[in-house]
C-alpha cells in the first residue's frame, strides 16, 4: 500500500499544504514566539543588538499607569459598546424578520457601515460630531470633552457593528422553527412570553456568538479610535491597542510595547474563553 507510506504522505502534504503551512508559520507562529523573546529585551527598533533585560519590561508594564488607564478605559468602552451593540442588533433582527414590506432592503441598509473601513467611518463621524451636531444643537463638539469622546466612540462602534450582529441574530430567528412558536402560542403564551421563554433560550448560540465577536472586536479597537478621536482630548480616549502602538512605534520602546501587547492578549484570551465556557454551559435544544 503506497498510500500509507510516510514518505508518500509527506510528499502529498508538501504538495497541497506546503504553501499554507509555510505562510501560517512565517506570519503567525514565528512572530508570536519571537515576540515573546522581544519582551525580554530592551530594543529601540533600530540598533542591531537587543540587550537582554529579563523580566524588567514586564515589571515596567505593570507599573505603566498610562497603560492601565488605557486598559480600564477599554474595559468600560467594551462593556457599554457590547451591551448596546447586542440590544440594537437584536431589536433590528426582530423587526426585519416579521415579514414587513421591504425587510430585505432594510437588512441590506443596516449592513452598509460594515462594508467600509474604520478609518473612513471615523472621519465621517468626526465631521458629523464636529460640524453637523454643532450646527444642530449649537453647542461645542462632543469630541472635545473627555466623556463626550468616549460616548462618541461607543456610539460609532454600535452603529458600525449593529448591522453585522443583526445578520447573525436574523439567522438565529430563522433557525427557531415555526412549529415551536405555534406550539407556545397554543399553550397560551403571549408574544412577549414566547419571546422570553421560548425564542431567546433557543437562540442562545447566536447570543454567545455575537457577544464573543463584539467583545473581541471592541477589545482591540484601533482604526476608529485613530481617526475619530486620535486618543484626544489630551490622551483621554487612548484605548489599549493604541497605547501599545504608540509605546512601540512612536516612543520606540519595542520591548515594553510588546510586553504590554502580550498582557492585552492574555486579557483577551481569558475574557473570550470564559465567555464561551459560560455561554456553552446553558445551551438548550428544541
Amino acid at each position: 500500500m503506497k498510500q500509507n507510506k510516510l514518505s508518500y504522505k509527506i510528499r502529498q502534504y508538501i504538495l497541497f499544504a506546503g504553501p499554507g503551512t509555510a505562510l501560517f508559520l512565517a506570519v503567525v507562529i514565528v512572530p508570536f514566539i519571537y515576540g515573546l523573546y522581544l519582551t525580554l529585551t530592551s530594543w529601540d527598533g533600530v540598533s542591531k543588538t537587543k540587550e537582554f533585560v529579563g523580566l524588567e519590561n514586564l515589571a515596567a508594564a505593570f507599573k505603566d499607569a498610562d497603560y492601565w488607564h488605557a486598559m480600564l478605559r477599554t474595559v468600560i468602552y467594551s462593556v457599554f459598546a457590547v451591551v448596546f451593540i447586542n440590544i440594537v442588533s437584536f431589536a433590528l433582527a426582530y423587526l426585519v424578520t416579521q415579514g414587513i414590506k421591504g425587510q430585505n432592503f432594510f437588512r441590506a441598509g443596516f449592513f452598509v457601515p460594515n462594508l467600509i473601513g474604520g478609518i473612513v467611518l471615523g472621519y465621517i463621524w468626526k465631521f458629523v460630531f464636529n460640524r453637523a451636531f454643532v450646527a444642530i444643537f449649537s453647542s461645542t463638539s462632543l469630541l472635545s470633552t473627555t466623556n463626550g469622546a468616549m460616548f462618541c466612540l461607543i456610539l460609532v462602534s454600535v452603529w458600525q457593528y449593529a448591522g453585522y450582529m443583526m445578520l447573525i441574530y436574523v439567522a438565529g430567528f430563522m433557525s427557531v422553527s415555526k412549529d415551536v412558536q405555534e406550539a407556545s402560542k397554543i399553550d397560551g403564551c403571549t408574544p412577549s412570553q414566547s419571546m422570553r421563554h421560548v425564542i431567546i433560550p433557543l437562540m442562545r448560540s447566536s447570543f454567545v456568538q455575537c457577544i464573543f465577536l463584539s467583545i473581541t472586536r471592541c477589545f482591540v479597537v484601533y482604526d476608529v479610535n485613530l481617526s475619530l478621536t486620535k486618543g484626544g482630548p489630551a490622551g483621554t480616549s487612548v484605548m489599549a491597542a493604541m497605547h501599545v502602538y504608540n509605546q512601540a512605534f512612536t516612543y520606540k520602546n519595542y520591548g515594553l510595547g510588546q510586553s504590554e501587547a502580550v498582557i492585552l492578549f492574555a486579557v483577551c484570551a481569558i475574557v473570550g474563553v470564559t465567555q464561551v465556557l459560560i455561554g456553552k454551559r446553558g445551551e438548550v435544544e428544541a
Binding site: 501560517f24 478609518i119 473612513v120 452603529w159 484601533y222 510588546q258 501587547a261 502580550v262
Partner: protein, 284 residues
C-alpha cells in the same frame, strides 16, 4: 367585526408601527453618509457656514472631486488596493482549500492534527501582539506589495482552513474521490476536478469575507507600505486627512471616493455579500 378581522387589523397596525421604527432607524443609519454626499457638492465656506443645507449658498460645485482625486492620487491608490485585494483573496482561497484537503483526508495522522489545532488556537491572537515582531523580522522586505499580499494570506489561512475543513468533511463523500481514483485521477487531479468545484459555496464565503477585510485593513498595510506610491485606500485617506484637514470640501470628496468602489459593488452583489457574511459568521 369578528375575531379574525380584528386579528388581521391588529397585525396591520403592528406592522405599520414596526415599519415606521425601521424607517427611522434606517435614516439614522445612513444619515452620516447622506451628510457626506450633500456636502461634497458645496464650497468650503458653505460647508462651514451650514453643513446641513442641501444646497450651499454659492450653489453646486463639482470642483472638490477632481481636486481630491488628483491630490490623493486616487487612480494609483485604487489600483493598489484592487491588486492587493484580488491577489490576496485568490491566493487565500487556493492555498487554504488545498491545505484543508490534506488535513481532512489525513485525519488520523498526528502531524496534521497538531497543525490544525495550532491554526485554531492562533485565531485568538490579536494583531497587536504580532505587529512589533513582524516588523522586526521582516524589516528588510517591507515596502513591497508582494510582502503585504503574502502576509494577508498568512494571517487569514487559519480561519479559511477552518471553514474549508468543515465543508470538506461534511459535504464531500470520500466515495466520490475513490471513484475518481479508480477512473485514473491522481490526487492532484481529484482535488482540482472533483473536490474544488464542489466547494463553491465555501469559496464564495471565504472570498467575500477576506476581500472585505483586505480592502478595508489599515494597520497591517500602514506598517508594511511606507512609500506613497504603494498606498492603499485606507492609508491614503488617513494621510490625506492629515494634510488637508482644514479644506473640508476636499475631505468630503476624498471620503466619498474611498467609499464609492465598495458601495457600487454592494449594489450589484448585495445578496451574495449578505449571505457570505452570514454563513461565515455563523460557521466561524
Amino acid at each position: 367585526m369578528n375575531e379574525n378581522q380584528r386579528a388581521a387589523r391588529n397585525k396591520k397596525i403592528a406592522h405599520a408601527i414596526m415599519w415606521i421604527v425601521l424607517l427611522v432607524m434606517f435614516i439614522a443609519f445612513i444619515f452620516p453618509f447622506l451628510l457626506v454626499v450633500i456636502n461634497v457638492f458645496k464650497t468650503k465656506g458653505d460647508i462651514t457656514s451650514n453643513p446641513l443645507a442641501l444646497i450651499g449658498a454659492h450653489g453646486f460645485t463639482f470642483k472638490n472631486f477632481p481636486a481630491a482625486m488628483k491630490k490623493m492620487n486616487f487612480l494609483t491608490v485604487f489600483l493598489n488596493s484592487l491588486t492587493i485585494t484580488t491577489s490576496a483573496t485568490v491566493l487565500t482561497i487556493l492555498i487554504s482549500s488545498m491545505t484543508s484537503f490534506v488535513i481532512v483526508r489525513n485525519g488520523k495522522w498526528k502531524f496534521c492534527t497538531i497543525i490544525f489545532s495550532l491554526m485554531i488556537a492562533s485565531m485568538v491572537i490579536p494583531f497587536q501582539v504580532l505587529m512589533v515582531p513582524l516588523v522586526s523580522v521582516y524589516g528588510n522586505v517591507l515596502n513591497s506589495r508582494i510582502t503585504l499580499i503574502l502576509m494577508h494570506v498568512g494571517f487569514s489561512v487559519s480561519m479559511a482552513v477552518f471553514m474549508f475543513h468543515g465543508s470538506i468533511k461534511t459535504n464531500i463523500p470520500i466515495d466520490l474521490e475513490e471513484s475518481a481514483t479508480i477512473d485514473g485521477c491522481n490526487r492532484w487531479q481529484t482535488f482540482w476536478k472533483i473536490v474544488f468545484p464542489l466547494l463553491k459555496p465555501t469559496i464564495a464565503t471565504v472570498g467575500i469575507i477576506n476581500a472585505m477585510a483586505y480592502w478595508n485593513d489599515y494597520l497591517l498595510p500602514s506598517l508594511v507600505l511606507k512609500k506613497k506610491d504603494l498606498y492603499t485606500i485606507p492609508i491614503a485617506t488617513q494621510a490625506f486627512y492629515g494634510t488637508y484637514s482644514t479644506d473640508i470640501g476636499l475631505i468630503m470628496a476624498a471620503l466619498l471616493l474611498a467609499m464609492l468602489p465598495i458601495l457600487i459593488l454592494y449594489v450589484f452583489l448585495q445578496r451574495y455579500i449578505v449571505e457570505g457574511v452570514t454563513s461565515g459568521a455563523v460557521k466561524g
